[in-house]
Each structure stands twice: as structure tokens, then as C-alpha cells.
């Protein structure tokens, strides 16, 4: 061993170095520390809270308030308090009920289809095949399309005179499918599902990765066929993801706007007049803030009820691992 053991050099200065801050020799009172922590927390949360207050909570409250007032036909005149009658009138109006119905149909058309297709693609792309990465990129590619992009593409392709799809389906010169009351909503739904396919695929793929391979192997050895494997292994393990996708997917579909605006502007004959578009219409075309306010509150409540209902209904069916 060397004359000076390396540890020797570490012998501390018995008086302790001053640069090692001793801090206060007197204990900072606990109260003051809590005060400072409180202040810090407040400061950190303040920006978010201010924005939420101004742009989320205040509007909600104000719109509830506005629901009780008739908007005057001419600007400048004061709003006229009418209590519940406006709410009653709007909620029972044909326009609102139609929008409600259209919105519900839209949710029904887009959410299950998007889920199932996303899952199907994810399962197919989950295999260990050569070049599977290419397919994965292709299947997730629509996530790069925004609502506007997808809508403009399909709007052009569905052009009744010269659009490609019109040509393919032999309907050139005739009514575009977007102008046909029977098919318009379906068409918009197809565009929506296509546009969401990428995201659905990515979410389902992420969820699939959580399914342990050894479980699948075991079931395969146990002789389970593809469908049985799906039912008993994949779906239960996937249930948190499915739950998430259903809840979030429903919320998003209730808020759909862009594709309606570009593809059909609510028509033909109000057949694609989803709630959000109807609200937009009330505000910008009818100038009726009062009615619009009622509808926004209705939309909010519907979203809330839907979500809570889904959570109540589905959460217990979800198998969480660990």
C-alpha cells in the first residue's frame, strides 16, 4: 500500500468548510416555509387558472345566463329576459331536435367503425412480417391529414361533374353524394372515419403492444383459433385502450365541425346539420346569440352525460392488469 492511502486525502477539515453552506443556524419556522410553498404553488397554477377562468368557465356560465334572454332582432336593443321559455322553445324546436338526431347518427356512424377498423388494421400490422414497418407507416399516414385537408380532398374527389369518385361510381353529371339527403351524412362519416383512421390505428397499436406475447403464445399452444384468441386474450387486455378510445372518440365526434363546413355546410336540407354547425349557423347567419347559447349548453350537457354514462357502463368491464 502506498505511503499515503488515497483515503487520507479525504480527511475532512475538522472545523468543516465554510463553503459548505450551513444555512441558517436558526430553524426557519415551519409556517414561513409553508407560506412560501403555497405562494409558489399559486404562482405555478395561476397562468393556467386565469386562462381557464376566462376562456372555459366564464363562457360556460355566461352562456347559461344568456340562455334566459332573447336576442333582439336589431342590434342596440337590450336583451329581453324571458326565463325558461326560450330554453323550452329551443329544445323543442324542430331545428334543434333535427341537429340532435343528426349528431347522434354521426356518432353512431363514426365511432364504432373507426374503432373496429383501427383495431383490425392494428392486429394485422402487429404480425412479425418482413416490411411490416411500411404497412404501419401507411396505416398511420392519415394522422397527417387534418380535418380541412381530408375534407378538401374528398370534396374535390366527390365533385359531381368531374370528381374522380363520381367517375368511378358512374354518377357523373348527377347529384353529388354530398347533395343527396339520403347519403350526405354517410359520406361525411366516411370522410371522418378515413381521416381518423391513422390516429385510431396508432392508439390500437399502442394498446396491442401492452398485450403480453407469452399470453398469446400460451393460448396458441392451448389450441385457440384466431377468433378465440381475439375474444379471450386480446380484447380483455385491450380493454383499457378500447375504453379510452370509445370515451375520447365519442367526445371528439360530438364536436365535429370542420368537415361539415367544407363538405356540406349543414345541408342538404339540414341532413348534416350537427349541433356544432347549428350553433355556428345561429351565431353567424341568424345572429341569434340567445338561441345559440341554449344550444351550446345543451351540447355541453349532452357530452357530459354521454361521457359519464360511458364511464359508468364500461369502466367495470375493463380489466386492469397489476
Amino acid at each position: 500500500m502506498s505511503v499515503t492511502h488515497p483515503f487520507e486525502r479525504l480527511k475532512p477539515d475538522r472545523l468543516h468548510d465554510e463553503s459548505v453552506g450551513k444555512g441558517s443556524r436558526t430553524p426557519r419556522s415551519r409556517r414561513r416555509r409553508r407560506m412560501m410553498e403555497l405562494l409558489l404553488a399559486f404562482g405555478l397554477l395561476l397562468p393556467s387558472l386565469v386562462i381557464f377562468g376566462v376562456f372555459v368557465f366564464y363562457p360556460l356560465i355566461r352562456q347559461i345566463y344568456l340562455s334566459f334572454f332573447l336576442t333582439p332582432p336589431f342590434p342596440g336593443e337590450p336583451n329581453h329576459y324571458v326565463g325558461l321559455s326560450q330554453i323550452q322553445q329551443v329544445l323543442s324546436s324542430h331545428d334543434f331536435l333535427n341537429s340532435l338526431w343528426v349528431t347522434l347518427l354521426f356518432v353512431l356512424y363514426t365511432v364504432p367503425a373507426g374503432l373496429i377498423l383501427g383495431l383490425l388494421l392494428a392486429v394485422l400490422a402487429h404480425q412479425q412480417l418482413a416490411g411490416i414497418r411500411f404497412f404501419r407507416t401507411v396505416f398511420s399516414s392519415t394522422v397527417a391529414t387534418s380535418v380541412a385537408v381530408a375534407s378538401v380532398i374528398f370534396f374535390t374527389l366527390l365533385n359531381p361533374q368531374v370528381g374522380l369518385f363520381s367517375y368511378l361510381f358512374g354518377t357523373q353529371g348527377q347529384l353529388s353524394v354530398l347533395d343527396d339527403p339520403r347519403w350526405a351524412l354517410l359520406a361525411v362519416s366516411v370522410v371522418t372515419v378515413w381521416q381518423n383512421l391513422g390516429l385510431s390505428f396508432i392508439i390500437m397499436s399502442a394498446g396491442l403492444q401492452a398485450v403480453p406475447d407469452d399470453l398469446l403464445e400460451a393460448s396458441r399452444i392451448d389450441g385457440a383459433r384466431a377468433w378465440a384468441r381475439m375474444r379471450h386474450v386480446i380484447l380483455p387486455m385491450l380493454s383499457p385502450t378500447l375504453f379510452f378510445a370509445i370515451v375520447v372518440g365519442t367526445i371528439l365526434s360530438l364536436e365535429a365541425f370542420g368537415q361539415i363546413d367544407i363538405l356540406t355546410a349543414g345541408g342538404p336540407l339540414q341532413h348534416t346539420n350537427v349541433l356544432v354547425y347549428a350553433i355556428y349557423d345561429q351565431v353567424f347567419n341568424e345572429d341569434n346569440d340567445g338561441r345559440a347559447a341554449v344550444m351550446t349548453v345543451a351540447l355541453f350537457l349532452i357530452t357530459l352525460v354521454f361521457t359519464l354514462f360511458q364511464i359508468w357502463l364500461l369502466e367495470r368491464r375493463v380489466t386492469y392488469e397489476r
Binding site: 483515503f7 479525504l10 480527511k11 477539515d13 463553503s19
Partner: protein, 362 residues
Amino acid sequence: MAQVALKEVTKRFGDVEAVRDVSLEVEDQEFLVLLGPSGCGKSTVLRLIAGLDTPTEGIIEIGDRVVNDIEPQERDVAMVFQSYALYPQMTARRNIEFPLKNRGTPKDERERRVHEVADALELTEVLDRRPAQMSGGQRQRVALARAIVRRPEAFLMDEPLSNLDAKLRTQTRTELIELQRRLETTVIYVTHDQVEGMTMGHRVAVMDRGVLQQVARPTEIYDHPANLFVAGFIGNPPMNTITGSPHSQNGDLVIDTVGGSIPLTPAQQDAVRRSGVTTVVAGVRPEHVVLDPDGPIDATVAVVEALGYEYHVVCRLDDGQQVIIRLPAEAVVPREGEDVHLGADPIRLHLFDAATGHGLAQ
């Protein structure tokens, strides 16, 4: 003057009492081991000293001041964690200098100290690596270095060796002992490994279920355990315990057990009489049990374990209680199934109250 002192410290988490009424004084430059099974509260005590938790009752002193209300970073103690707690995105160098940087140590001073410590712990080559690129042993040394570089009043170590493989553990154990002697600093060391406890500490504080059982030098703990728990916890193979009741036999007090009657020294007899205990646990360490044809205890050999450097002979009494004997390698070893007689020098006997586990004073 004690370097670290706990005075009647209790810590409750909700209804659970993790630490109960612990009073302990650690001397300056002492290596104190807090030993006990998992869940006994030893880590909680360490955290209380560090300031990561505050005691529900009691006072903690470091140096000459009460630190109950002082933040961890101001207590001048450094801690080495079981998981090392190295900052994963920082190099070893950054990890080690982190505590200095936060305290405003000037750059050259920082670099000097980091180099000093890295040199001493043979970390110079890995200074610019991240924890993920180091071996377990290197990571452990970085954690150590980070603590040393601060030159604190006391080191707190929470099972720092438990994540190392056996060989590295023995090696590092010796290095840590050397380190503490050289640094002449106070170390409070938590472990569940009794070998570490016995070999490393100046004194050992044994804890069980939040309560301090005994604080003494290792030899004292081994030769005079204060209660059944300590007796059974320290020593491998553990101390043999046989339950029996005191019985007067020809004027002398003996302990009647299933295997036979155990004679006591006069002092022991006094102690038993004074305590008024009706059921006694007699304990004797495996190395003190002998095969004696005149021995008081009858037993049957169940298993003979040959370890190469010695034998462990496991014997059973009629009711299934077991007694283990350690025999040197060259001894004549009985066969399995043989009936034997066991005895021991009464001086080597430890007596405990069966009800409370307390040792009976002799």
C-alpha cells in the same frame, strides 16, 4: 458530546407506529449500525435523522442543535441510498458535484474536490459516463462520492451494499470500514444483514417493530443478548432455544424441558428465582453445545450438514424442537438417526422469560 442524538422519538403514519420511543446517541466518529429485519423501522429512523420525515414526537439533535425544524439540506448530513439515487441524465462528475454546485461552491474548489474523491474511489475513468453506462459497483461508488464530497457532519447509509453481488459486497464492506476509519467521521448505517452489523459497527443498535431492542458493541450483543429477539437475530446458525419450566431438584433449580433437565449456575438460579418466571426459554449457541454422554438433554440426530470447514448437526427433541450443533471438521460426527446426549457449560446458557422475551439478568 454526541454527534447525533435521538430523544424519545416516535413516528406515526396514520395508525401505524413505525418508530416507538427511540432514544439513541451516536458519538462523534462512531460507526453505528442500525440492524433489524425489514419493516422494523430502521430506515424510518434514518429518514428522520436526515429530515426527510418529521418525528411525531421527540427531539433529534445533530451536533449541538435541535434539528426538528431544520430542512434536510441544512442539517449537514449526507445520505447514500440503497438504490443509489443517481441522477440518470447526469454524468458521474455532474452527479458528484451537484450538491456543491447547489450550495454555491466556486468552480475550482468544486473541481478539486470532485477530483479528490474520484481519485480516492477509483472513479476517474468513469467520471464522464452516465449511470446507465456504469457497473453496479461503480454506481455505488459514485453515490458514495457524492456524499463524501460534501464533508458532512454525519453519513447516513441505507443498505448501500444490498444491490451488489456477494463477492463485491464483501470487498466493498471492507473498503467502507476503512473509509470510515480514515475519514474519522460519524456514520449511521442501516442494514438487515447481521454480518454487516457485526463486522462494521463500533456499536450495533438492534431494532424490531419500531422498538430499539439493544444498543451495544458487537461482541456484547453476541455474548449477552438482551432479549430473545436479539438472541435469535444475531448469529448464524441462530441460537438454539429450548422452552422449559424451573423446577426444584435437590435444593437446586433446574430447567425442565422435554429433552431433560438443564442445570444452572448459582447466579442463574438466583436470577430465575428473583424473576418469578414460570416458563423459561434457555438459549445456547450452536458452537457451545457438546455431545456429552452424561449430558442432560436427550435428542435424536435428524440431519448432518457437512460444510467442509465444519459440521452442522441438527438434532431433534421428542417434541420436535431442534438443536443445532457446530462441530469442527476433524470431529467425530454422529450418524443421522442416532440417539445422542447434549450438554453445555452452564456459563454459556442464556435465560429468557418465555412470556416477554426479556433476558433474565445474571
